[in-house]
């Protein structure tokens, strides 16, 4: 299994670098930065899995833990 995974991405070589004048960045670092930006945007636009539940819950009156405990009594 380890050999299969290691075969997917061969990291056993010199790093690749990009140059724009005085700016130099490794491809690995650029990929990480792009992934962070993509993750950030997705976190803003993707719906959260609990939103539908919380909106449904909002239609009911708020119940505090103490009220819950009191309500359980006959």
């Amino acid at each position: 299994m380890i050999y299969v995974l290691s075969a997917l991405v061969n990291l056993n070589h010199r790093g690749h670098y990009l140059h724009w004048g005085a700016v130099q960045i490794s491809v690995a670092n650029l990929i990480v930065i792009v992934l962070m930006l993509v993750t950030f945007v997705l976190a803003l636009v993707l719906p959260f899995h609990g939103q539908a539940v919380s909106r449904h819950e909002a239609e009911r009156p708020t119940v505090t833990p103490s009220e819950q405990a009191g309500g359980a009594e006959p």
């Binding site: 990480v32 962070m36 950030f40 976190a43």
Partner: protein, 275 residues
Amino acid sequence: MTTTASEADVAVSPDDRPTWTGRFRARAVGSFPPERLLPDRQPAYVASWIYVFGALTLAAFAVVLLSGAVLAIEGPAWYHSSSVGLYFNSMHLWGTELFFFFMVVHLWGKFFMAAWRGRRRATWITGVLAFVISIANAFTGYLSQQNFDSEWIGTQAKDGINSTGAGAFWNVLNFGQMLLWHVLLLPLVVAVVVGIHVLLVRRRGVVPPFSRPEPALASTRALPAGDIGFADDTTTTEISSPDGSAAAVGTAAGGGGPTVTGPSPTGNPEDGEGR
């Protein structure tokens, strides 16, 4: 008329208690009541992916600490040669990568929310400190790899460190010093700062998103007994601006729910005062 212990606690000011332990307990419970320290509800606006990355950073930090502890138990001869050791070594590396990945996304989210609003300046500053000290911690880790990479990093970094004057007592070419800073001093400082950061988040609450101005200051009223102060979709927080006018914060990030006036999401009457 007899007085119960709880009534006596209320009657006695924290500063009037005879022992420092009593004063500390009174102040700790006053600042961090259990229902605020370990809440069982959260504000509706937290139901967004952008609010997840702080917890993800903590989870990655736990993986880094645990994998680092395993590396320390067995030692370099083990984690440089055996397959299991290499596995934990890689887990430690990739846990660090994810730690910074999540922390940077968390930082971006909080920056664009202006997360220092609502008397959360200390929360923001401790987050910045945690970020900077974590960089130093990771740096000493890269110096401790015992390979050509760490040798290259050390020889390149020494000139920069020496130019600041710090090289007189913090020598990046001193492997033993860097390793001990990496495994003891800096993780301890990061853990303490992160702990304070999390406590401040509990104290001041999660920063709400921006919304339109509202006139009332509902968050300044005291909450009824038994109310843990966390809202659901029917509530929002109102905070005051520096000029004294009120501004309501409702939903924004992640497309949250509707906005209706209600109590503070933190249950802290002080939260709405100033930014």
